[in-house]
């Protein structure tokens, strides 16, 4: 399908592959199938990727040179590049392929481990691998090295919006002609002593250990780990090589609250502006949207301000559009969340299904949208007026610091 774009004939970024390693298991299909079935990857108040075996994706040497967040990215990238047909050989000149992978924190587990070595055994015992293990661009570097990617390559850091910002940045590279293809997404493995204690200290995480976004009883997010990686290509180039197109990033926008270090601005004004700008970027309006994949962290503040932002940006249509949160079953993957949730969104659109906000039962005052309680349901794409039907969603990501990144996605 050729989309009519608001800005004329710019290049478009289609999605030709993705991979996900999440607390629900290894693989994007596992993620969407288990989520749609209402299964949860949360146990004992955290969401770990217990099914992930690094040895299935890399040598022992590569594994010990990679922090867990990089290992997860390598695994997700392997699935994504395989799906896109990039695994054997890049179908583009390597200098025209970009690699941008976001993270909230980077190799925190490695940093904590080496901090222990420094305290116990002194500076001369600190591992020479410490810096490459913990640096925030380690996942991008490892994926680029593994697959011979020679274009724009860097990490991207914007807390819990990093995955969406990375995808948006990759889309812009393709649109502007800086790259013909991009490997992009997010990775996080911050289930470490410091991070768990620190998020708890600021009151961000759930004391009950339950993730129930938008429910009146919500009391914070459940920390998770994982990675999501997508392959994006210039639409025309993908068509020329006969690639299977899974979806398209129709629009992207990012704004900043400039309000508070951690709390979202209560009215959600800048989050709403990001949603509206992403729709404008896609050349679409609220009436074209079939589904909202919410940031929906299960924190009291986010879920309220996000609801306000959706109402503000989508008007009356906000009450029609089903809104659900992937975090209800995998917790909050921080810098990987935006990428994993974009993948879940596209896969849901492709399957014409709306996965539920698992655990949602009690309505909170003012949180009066359709949060898709209990079970998944059929997604009915809106007619665009000329008889063809597209299935389109927005995926929200908001990060500490007031960073808002919104993707408008189509599944095919």
């Amino acid at each position: 399908m050729t989309s009519a774009r608001s800005n004329g004939g710019r290049r478009r970024a289609v999605i030709t592959g993705y991979g996900a390693i999440t607390p629900l298991g290894v693989g994007a299909e596992t993620l969407i199938e288990r989520w749609s079935d209402g299964e949860s990857g949360i146990a004992d108040g955290v969401a770990r990727c217990d099914a992930f075996e690094p040895g299935e994706f890399m040598s022992r040497k590569d594994a010990r040179r990679s922090d867990r967040f990089t290992q997860l990215a390598i695994g997700a990238a392997a699935e994504a590049l395989d799906a896109a047909g990039f695994q054997e050989e890049l179908p583009y000149e390597p200098g025209r392929v970009a690699c941008v992978i976001g993270t909230g924190i980077g190799g925190l587990g490695s940093l904590e481990e080496q901090e222990g070595v420094l305290r116990e055994r002194g500076p001369k015992a600190v591992s020479p691998l410490s810096v490459p293990l913990m640096m925030g661009n380690a996942a991008s570097a490892a994926v680029a090295m593994r697959h011979g990617i020679h274009g724009h390559t860097y990490g991207l850091v914007s807390a819990c919006a990093a995955g969406a910002h990375a995808i948006g940045s990759a889309v812009r590279m393709i649109e502007t002609g800086d790259a013909d293809a991009a490997v992009t997404g997010g990775a996080e493995a911050a289930l470490t002593g410091i991070a768990i204690a620190a998020f708890a200290a600021m009151g961000a995480t759930s004391e009950s250990g339950v993730s129930r976004p938008f429910d009146a009883r919500r009391d914070g997010f459940v920390m998770g780990e994982g990675a999501g990686v997508l392959v994006l290509e210039d639409a025309e180039a993908a068509e020329r090589r006969g690639a299977t197109v899974l979806g398209e990033v129709l629009g992207y926008a990012a704004t900043s609250d400039a309000h508070h270090l951690t709390a979202p601005e209560p009215s959600g004004a800048d989050a709403a502006r990001a949603i509206a700008l992403a729709l404008e970027d896609a050349g679409l309006g609220p009436g074209d949207i079939d589904y909202v994949n919410a940031h929906g962290t299960s924190t009291p503040l986010n879920d309220r301000s996000e609801t306000e932002a959706l109402k503000s940006a989508l008007g009356d249509e906000a009450y029609r559009i089903p809104v659900s949160s992937t975090k209800s079953v995998i917790g909050h993957l921080l810098g990987a969340a935006g990428a994993v949730e974009a993948i879940a969104t596209v896969e849901a659109l492709r399957r014409r299904t709306v996965p539920p906000t698992v655990g949602w039962e009690e309505r909170d005052e003012g949180l009066d949208l359709d949060y898709v309680p209990e079970t998944d349901r059929e997604l009915a794409p809106r007619s665009n007026g000329n008889g063809s039907r597209r299935s389109v969603a927005i995926s929200n990501s908001f990060g500490f610091g007031g960073h808002n990144a919104v993707l408008c996605l189509e599944g095919r």
Binding site: S59, D62, R64, P128
Partner: protein, 84 residues
């Protein structure tokens, strides 16, 4: 630092184990193997040097190992340093 007698066999064993630890193929490790063949780079050599210092108290600074290209040369250097 250990007080036990530093023998060539003991140094060889520690270095072979260290190389395996940093990811070299155990079957490919021998005195004549080059670091290039073992896919051992400068970061690995720093880890090997840390292991050697822990085991034998022999400090191998960067300059000392920069020109070494195979496993036997490191073994000989450590044995010589530990006896001097």
């Amino acid at each position: 630092m250990t007080t036990e007698q530093v023998t060539t066999d003991r140094v060889e064993q520690v270095i072979f184990d260290g190389l395996a630890e940093v990811g070299a193929e155990r079957d490919a490790i021998n005195r004549d193997a080059s670091f290039e063949d073992l896919d051992v780079d400068s970061l690995d050599l720093v880890e090997i040097a840390q292991i050697i210092e822990d085991e034998f108290g022999v400090e191998l600074e960067g300059d000392a190992v920069a020109d070494l290209t195979n496993v036997g040369q490191v073994i000989d250097l450590v044995v010589a340093r530990s006896q001097s």
